[in-house]
Every structure is written in structure tokens, then in C-alpha cells.
Symmetry: C2
Subunit: 611 residues, 2 copies
């Protein structure tokens, strides 16, 4: 490869393609020679290598040549990488060469995104994303390798597709144990279930609801997705061209149900996981479940909690909760507005759930007061779609060749350490575009922010999963005074009111606690034990040392989609985008283990926070 | 446009793009001047213009300049075509320029495919396909114009998607009449239902089965599609990448059921149409239906029969049918093989159904005899897929940019008059590839053919819809003697046998009449009246004057997807390909009528055959 480059003319060698080829050639040579220092020297002084499972059997980012040295020292022999090549014509912009690349490891094939920049007259890697696409010998049957579906022959041993499906259904979880048990069958469990099915990993998804999609159907009636369709596709089967930009909850529910059937995902409805324990001796979980009310024991090798990234509901223990005579419930249990027409509602909290519930209550003619306890980041859905997502997830992106799959990789290639730097200008533009709206919010006394560093919504989502509202109409009601606003902490409840710390009394027939959620390891505490929950520690957050995301810096979402300190326990979830994209890496990790491949995990993080 | 061309250099003007531009420019100029003779003079001596609804409000093909004169004389003023342009770079091969084109008419936008050839030193049209894509002001909401799904505002008049769906369901067919009633909810009714829904035409699909997809689920258990996945996509939502090449019947059933829900098609299950009559006075059908056993009257303006292109079962009235003591039924009523293990089965007929049923009976260990009454065209599924469809419908076609939509238009652009000329070499190649297989069939005494002119399967399908078997394994059983073969007409049945004209007696516990189907207007006779069925005449067939497709030449499938001699009565159906492709044109014809557009039909054919 380097020989080829040497022979190029000087002019050609400065083309993005030639620069990429040269860098990849030198990099591969250094790796083949196991010359870790030489390879690390090809990274810029400030640089980032993010690996999703391909080198590290982990989701991890290392920084700068030092970090690269450490990663390679631990992973190079086992991964034995080779065949680096550009996948399509690299491009150059503002001095940065961007190249889609492919490569192989000892066990798999990968795809990545490389950005080169010149430092001291040499091309150095500024960012490198490497991701595992497939395991050799375990490639997915799709496209030109899709299954035939029928054996075109006559045989007296034929079983039909339906017979096989029925037999599998009769056996799985009864006489045949699933290798993976996925607890929770919302979009996360379903996307993972589809990928595991496609990879041939015996897996079972269980969910307490009566039908797939009920996780959405059961929520308040005006709910629609806050993210646009291009961002929301599930694996293998995209929403059709006539699918709405922001799908109503029941339509998403129907889609998830259809998708589950079309993808042939083994899925038990009306099934609750009651307890689980892991045996180091047998390498097996014992999970007690109740299926249609009947107890049953499952013995999977791997346990995935996909019960919602929001974790368990935070319900504040306020004095007077027991004397209040009206309805009161956490936002996650809110039944919708219909019973509350003409009633006085007090909604505590001022983030997404609160706005959605306040808006729906206002729509039925309730008298609504929102209690704001701390500031909230507000961004209009249209602006977010246009300015925040448009280059990656939109009709215009699709027209420009940025498929959902490419968009996911581009997005994943921006290191979390510097992602806020890319986000700040986006929100500056949004602030300018919607200045009038923000002025009106200010005037109404609503306390809003742009994140601790002005980096806006997505960083808040990644860091803490809270503290924002994507405005789909309710913020206008606050700005207009249609939804009343109160400020401060709640002191106590009386029989018929909420009393704030400053003495303000808010008469109430219904109180909604839109007070957020705990860490996902709370699910593990309930299902397994507090000990295991503590061993695993906090789930979610980057360690950015910003509010609700305490440091130290971790560089990836804590404990999500990757090995945890508890053997064979995994966390999966997030929005539709994350459910789609990260299910790929979780599924490949599980597949590798089910096939008995060696999966040495690089850099399993320490636990710094219990919740 | 012509000015631009005149200014081109001689060299450039011979490029396919320049030749296309020049031809389109001159053609448009002639049309604008209403100079029919000049426009027709731009067609080659032997030439074909196939129009799907855009000029003619019909599916029709005219031939040669004379035909073009006639078409234009009748349609030019009303269609007022304009804005002809190449849609992408035209190509040239073997002296023929091929160009994807777009154009507009007074009411719509169209897409077409033009082939130019040189005659007397001038570029002339050899084939022209023009198709209607959308009606102006009634464009489909999809892609960048997809619905928003949610109104991003707060309003006290909000109804949710679910509430609207429930209200519609409660009203449609009860207090609100559908504009279109589609009788039959297999792939044909479902594809049409999806398009009508997308076009905003109030339509209702009814079907006698309990669930969409039961049309497939109810058939014999080893049935899989005989056509590959790339040929089978439905509108708007393609099968996923991991869908099998030949889908098993129950999987297709599940897909159709999911598709019906995802596309929000109003669909009544367990509903049978009992009778229908049309009033010229009110322009309305009165259709008596039974829904879940309860009678109900529907009053649609348009009635579509989508009850199966095969039409009603042909059951021969043989002497002795009443004395035979075993099971006997038409192939369409065959319950599958399971009850017949070890039994003696006689299957009368030697086409697709017979082979499928014989194979399945053999697989459970029945003693099977096939009675061949006339010769059958046999082609192996793999060969058909590879040689017959591969350029248009395959993974390789998709990779080469031939989307399903493009493939449909390319296929539609080959005039039926000369289609056999394109087909003959395909089957020559198949014959050569599978020579050994055909030799073995011959040796087994099986009488097979390649169609009256050697044009093979697809022409047989278009001409008569019968007379062939796509081998998915059973022909091998005949070649091997595993399925026994008898020849000749059936003379009569005894208590326990089938007796052939030559006296051969075949002992039988079960007799299956795989004896084919009548014309689809048989459905109209049953549902409406014999008078209307006769008025409409034979459905299907091109008029090729080959067996079971009597002339005169018609040039299109008789009565399919286009106006018939019975006002407001339409026939829809065919395989998945046809259900997908032709539902577009039927839906646009219905949409235009529902919007009160003028739809002058050119060349409504005379009726030559009653069935």
C-alpha cells in the first residue's frame, strides 16, 4: 500500500483519497508490526479514537496519542486488524479530510469514519471512529444473502415456516432456554430483539403489557413523538414514505406491534420479571417471571434490562401527601387529561413531561399551574428539526445521500468530549431564530437556560437525560399565561392545595409529580438486589461534571449497551435513534458470547456513583 | 427548445441527451400546434405508444403513425400536454436511445420511457410509454410533503389520531358511504386500498375472511410464493432486507395484515358481498353485504372486484361424481395433504396447482397420480429468477439502480404486441441451461411445451393465466416417477376410481380437480347479474389468438384496471407485481372521478367474448 503511494505524483498525493490511502497504509503497517508507539504517533496531539466493540469489546473513547498507546497495547494482539481501506471517495473541507473506511479484525468486519488534519506538515488522525459491523462466519442473512424462504425441492421431512414458528413458540422458555432474556419490550427491547433474531441468537423479550406498543398506547392521549421520522427508524425496516414527521403514540404502538411480528421476535406479553439472581458457578441467571399471572422460571445466560432509560420514577416524599384528598400521581402514571376538565391541576416540575401534561390538561379546559423548581432548557421542535438535525436526519439529508445508517455513524464519530463545541453554534442559531419566543417566555417569568455551557438539548439529554422541553406547543401556553406559573420548592400539601416554600398556596384537585426519574440501576435493585445495583453503579451520563452528571469524565454513556461490573448484566434503552443504533453493538457483543468467542473487554470503567 | 438544439454543435447533437431533447422539443411543438400528423410522423413505421391513463384515461396501446394519429385526434385537446423533458441522462445501445421522461397534462404529471431509433436519417420514436403519476392539486403526501402527524400548537379542539380513526371506523359504511367499495381484500384489494387511502379517496375494502392475509394462510401448508421478493413489493413499504426470496404463505399473510394496519386501510373482515346493482339514475351501486353475519346495505359510487384474477373455479361435470365415495374437491378448496397420508390420490390437471398439490401429497406419503390432459410449460424457479427476471427484479438490479418502480416501468414499456420477441431468447437460454432436467421430464413421458411461439411463462400468464408450472420441486418428482403420470381426458368416476377415456382405471381415495378457473366476469355474474357479466365480457387475455386467448388482438389485458362497458365497475387483481403496479393507475382513475374531473375515455374496447 505504501509503495503504491510513493509512486504517486506529488499532486495526486495531496488529494483526499491519496492522503487517506497513505495514512491508512502507514497505520496498518505500524499495527502489523505491533509498533504501538508508531501507530499512536499518527494521531494528532489532541485527538480521539472512539471504538464501538471492534477493537475493545466495549464502547470506549481514548484521547490523544497516549490514549491510543494504551488502547493498542491492550487490544492489538487479540484484534489483529487488517485490510484498512477507504469505502468511498474521501472529501476535504476546511483542511480536514473525512473518509469512510472499512477494516477487518481477527473475528469481524468493521466500518469507520476517519478525519485527518495536518500537524507539523504531516497528516494525523484527529478523530477515528471504528465500529463492528459483523462477525466473520456469522454474517446476517440479508440483501443478496437473504434466506431463500423455501427449499425448492420435495422432501418428506419438510416442516413449514408456520410449524417451525409454532414449535419454537411452544418450546422457548419452557423446554429450551433463551440465551438472552430482554426485560422490557418497548422500542429498545424490540430493536434489540430484531437484531438478535437476525443474528440467530436465541433470545426472548418479555413485557408486562398486553401487546407490543402498549408502552406508547398507554400514555396521555395527545402524545406524539418529539423527534422526527428520519431520526426514528428501527433496524431493517424503515418507516414508509408516507409516515408522518411526528407520529402519534397509537400509530407508533401499532408499528411496534407489526414490526415485532414481521421480524419474528420471540416476545411474551403480559409477563413480568419478579426477581433475578446470577450464579457465577453456572454462569446463568435464574429469573422468576409471571406470565399471564402464572409463575415460571427462566434461565438465560445473559440478562438485558430494557425497561426504560428514564429509570424508576422519583416521587418526592412531601409532608401532607397523605392528607391531600384529590388525585395525585407521578407523571409516568398520569392517565391523561379527560377526567380533569374544569378541575384545578398543579403540576410539579417544568421539563418535558410537565409541559406535555400541562398542555393536555389545558386543552380539556383544566385550570393548570406549573410549579417551576429549577430552570429548563426550551427549544422549539421545528427549530431543532431544521437547525439541529437537518444535516443528518431529514428529507434533505436523505436526498444528499446521508442515509440513516450514515447519519448514525457521523453522529457517533463526534467525540463526546468535544461534542458540545459542535452543539453551541446550533443553539446560538436557534436562539437568534426564535428570539421573539424566548423574549415572551422571559416576560412570562419562565426561567429557561441553554445548558451549563450553552450546548443545548442534546448534551443535556446525554449528560443527564432531563432538564429540557422540546416545545410542541405548550411553551406558548406558558408564554401566553394560559398555563399559570409558580416558582420554588414544594413545602407540603394540605387537603386541597399545594403549599410552596414561600407560603404560596395553590388550590388543587389533582397534583402531578413531574419530578423525573432515577438511574436505571434502580431497576436492577428491584429485580436483582441492591448489592448488584451498587456494584454496577449509576447508569447514563458522561461524567461531564455538570448538574446531575457528576464526574469524573467517562467519555461514554455510563453502563449503556456495554459490559458492566456485573457479569452478564446489560442495560439497553434510550430514544428510537439510540435503540436502533446501539442495539447493533449490544447484539454483536451478545452474539460473540453466545458463539463462545473470546471477548476481552478493554477499559471496563470503575464505579464512581451508586445512583 | 428547438432553438437550443439548433445551436448545438453537430457532435453534441448526436449524444443521446441531445437526440432526446431534440425529439421531445419537436414533439411538444407539434402537440402545442395541435398538428397531429406532424407529431405522428415522428413515430417509426413500426412503433408503439402505450399510455397508462395520462392521455387516454384508459390503459391502451396504439401502433404505428396511424394509431398515434387516432390517439392524438381524440385526446390532445383534453390532455393539453406540455413540459416534456428527460428525467435523467438518456443512454444509447445498439442504435436505440432510451430516455426516462417526464411531462405534464392539463390535470396531471406523468413519467414515461421513450426509445428512439433512426429511420430515414431521422430520430423516430420506436416505443413510447406514458403513465400518469399524480393529479395536480391532489399530490400524495409523502417524502418531503409527508404529513406532520401532530399539530405543534395547543388547541382545545384537538382530536387525536386514535379518536379520528375510531370515529371514521364507526361511521364508514354506516352513516358515511365509501366512494369506492373494493370487494376482496387479498394483495390486490390491499394494494389498491393503500393507494386510495393515500390519495384521500373514501374507500372500503371488504373480505369474507376473518383476518387480512387469510387468503394466503388458508391455502395448503407448504405453499410459498413462486415469485421472488424483488418482484413482490407492495406500494409505499418495501419488504425488509432480511425478507426471504420466496416467502412462505403464512409469513405473507402476516405481512398483509400488518401492512393493512400500518397503511390505515379501512377494511372489514368477515364480510361477504351478496348482491349488487347499479342505478344509472343515481350513479350509485346498491350492494348487499353480510358483515359478521348481519345484513347491511352499502351505496358506493364505484365498485371494484378484486376477488382473484383466477376467477371462479372450473369444476368439470363428470359422470360418476355422485357415486365416488372418497373426498373430491377443486384445487382451490384443497385442505392440504395432512389427512391423506398413505391414501391414493388422483389429481386431474398438470399446471401449477396440480404440481403444488401433488408435491405436498407426496411429501406426506400419499400415493399420487397426476392426470395430464394437455401439455404444460415447465420452468425452474431459479432459472426464471436468474434469467427471466434478474435484469429487472433482483439484488443485482437494485445494486445497478433499477428500483422496483423503474423495473415496473421498463417492463410496462415493452409493447405486448412484440413482448414475445423479447421473451423467446430468455426461454431459449433457460432450455439450454436446464437441458438435463427437460430430458428427464421427456423420458418420464411428461408432455411439456414452451408456449405456442416459444415465448414461455410470462406470455402464457398474460395471455391465458394458465398452462404452466414454476418448478419448485414437484416437477423433479414427476421426472423421477415418484409422482405417477396418466394421460388423457377423464371419462367418468366410479365408487373408488377415476376412469380415463382410454379405459385406464386409477384407484382413488381422493380426487382433486386442478382444472383451472373461469373468467373474472363470472364474479360479476354471481354478484350483479349475468346480463352485466355479458355486457362486460371476458376479463384477462391480450387477444393473441393463441390457445385460451382468442382474438381479435386487444393489446392490453382485457377489462383489467380500466373502464369496462359497465359504468363504475372495475376489475383489479393479478400477482403481487400487478397488484402493486396497476393499482396506481386504477387508483388515479378513481381519484379523478371522485374529484369530479373530466375523464374522457379513449378507445373503450368492444366485447368479443362472453367468458
Amino acid at each position: 500500500m505504501t509503495q503504491t503511494v510513493d509512486r504517486e505524483t506529488a499532486a495526486a498525493s495531496t488529494s483526499p483519497a491519496a492522503r487517506t490511502e497513505a495514512w491508512l497504509g502507514r497505520f496498518e503497517e505500524a499495527l502489523r508490526a505491533r509498533d504501538v508507539e508508531r501507530a499512536a504517533g499518527m494521531f494528532a496531539t489532541t485527538s480521539f479514537w472512539r471504538d464501538l466493540v471492534s477493537f475493545t469489546w466495549n464502547l470506549t473513547t481514548v484521547e490523544n496519542p497516549d490514549g491510543v498507546v494504551d488502547l493498542l497495547r491492550h487490544t492489538l494482539d487479540a484484534s489483529d486488524p487488517s485490510r484498512f481501506a477507504a469505502e468511498e471517495e474521501p472529501t476535504e473541507s476546511d483542511g480536514v479530510v473525512t473518509a469512510w473506511i472499512v477494516f477487518e479484525t481477527s473475528v469481524g468486519r468493521g466500518r469507520g469514519l476517519l478525519r485527518l488534519t495536518e500537524e507539523d506538515g504531516e497528516d494525523k488522525a484527529w478523530t477515528l471512529l471504528t465500529t463492528l459491523v459483523e462477525l466473520k462466519g456469522h454474517e446476517e442473512a440479508k440483501g443478496s444473502s437473504r434466506p431463500m424462504g423455501v427449499e425448492h425441492t420435495a422432501t418428506r421431512e419438510r416442516t413449514t415456516w408456520l410449524e417451525r414458528r409454532e414449535q419454537e413458540e411452544a418450546q422457548l422458555g419452557i423446554s429450551v432456554q433463551p440465551y438472552v432474556l430482554v426485560v422490557g419490550g418497548g422500542q429498545g427491547g424490540i430493536a434489540l430483539g430484531a437484531r438478535l433474531r437476525q443474528l440467530g441468537v436465541p433470545a426472548l423479550v418479555i413485557d408486562k403489557h398486553a401487546r407490543p406498543g402498549d408502552q406508547w398506547r398507554g400514555r396521555y392521549k395527545s402524545l406524539c413523538l418529539h423527534d422526527p421520522v428520519w431520526y426514528d427508524h428501527l433496524p431493517y425496516l424503515k418507516f414508509p414514505d408516507n409516515w408522518p414527521v411526528f407520529a402519534p403514540k397509537d400509530k407508533i404502538g401499532d408499528w411496534l406491534e407489526s414490526y415485532t411480528r414481521v421480524m419474528e421476535i420471540p416476545y411474551w406479553t403480559s409477563t413480568e420479571a419478579k426477581s433475578a439472581s446470577y450464579s457465577e458457578q453456572t454462569g446463568e441467571w435464574t429469573v422468576q417471571v409471571e406470565r399471564d399471572g402464572k409463575p415460571l422460571t427462566l434461565r438465560p445466560k445473559q440478562l438485558v434490562l430494557a425497561t426504560g432509560m428514564s429509570g424508576k420514577a422519583n416521587v418526592p416524599s412531601l409532608p401532607g401527601r397523605d392528607v391531600f384528598t384529590g388525585d395525585q400521581h407521578h407523571s409516568s402514571a398520569h392517565p391523561g387529561p379527560d377526567a380533569y376538565a374544569g378541575k384545578r391541576a398543579v403540576v410539579i416540575g417544568s421539563n418535558n413531561s410537565s409541559f406535555d401534561i400541562c398542555g393536555a390538561l389545558w386543552e380539556v379546559g383544566a385550570d393548570v399551574t406549573m410549579v417551576q423548581r429549577s430552570s429548563t432548557h426550551i427549544v422549539k421542535s421545528e427549530s431543532l428539526m431544521e437547525i439541529g438535525l437537518g444535516d443528518l436526519y431529514s428529507e434533505r439529508a436523505v436526498a444528499a445521500g446521508v442515509t440513516t445508517e450514515k447519519a448514525d455513524l457521523i453522529f457517533a464519530s463526534l467525540p463526546y468530549r468535544i461534542l458540545h463545541e459542535f452543539q453551541i453554534p446550533v443553539y446560538d442559531a436557534i436562539r437568534e431564530k426564535d428570539q421573539d419566543f424566548y423574549d415572551r417566555l422571559d416576560k412570562a417569568g419562565f426561567d429557561h437556560d441553554w445548558g451549563p455551557d450553552g450546548s443545548g438539548l442534546f448534551m443535556k439529554y446525554l449528560r443527564r437525560g432531563s432538564g429540557y422541553y422540546i416545545d410542541v406547543g405548550s411553551a406558548e401556553l406558558v408564554a401566553d399565561g394560559e398555563i399559570k406559573l409558580a416558582h420554588g420548592q414544594v413545602d407540603h400539601l394540605t387537603e386541597s392545595s399545594v403549599v410552596l416554600a414561600d407560603g404560596t398556596e395553590l388550590p388543587a384537585d389533582i397534583v402531578v409529580y413531574a419530578t423525573g426519574y432515577g438511574s436505571m440501576n434502580g431497576w436492577a435493585a428491584d429485580l436483582i438486589s441492591q448489592e448488584v445495583a451498587d456494584k454496577v453503579g449509576k447508569v447514563w451520563g458522561l461524567g461531564s461534571d455538570t448538574p446531575k452528571d457528576p464526574g469524573p469524565w467517562e467519555g461514554e454513556q455510563r453502563n449503556m449497551w456495554k459490559p458492566t461490573q456485573q457479569e452478564a448484566l446489560w442495560f439497553h434503552g434510550g430514544n428510537l435513534h439510540q435503540s436502533r443504533h446501539y442495539s447493533q453493538f449490544l447484539a454483536l457483543q451478545l452474539k460473540a458470547r453466545s458463539e463462545g468467542l473470546d471477548t476481552p473487554v478493554y477499559d471496563l470503567p470503575e464505579v464512581h456513583h451508586l445512583r
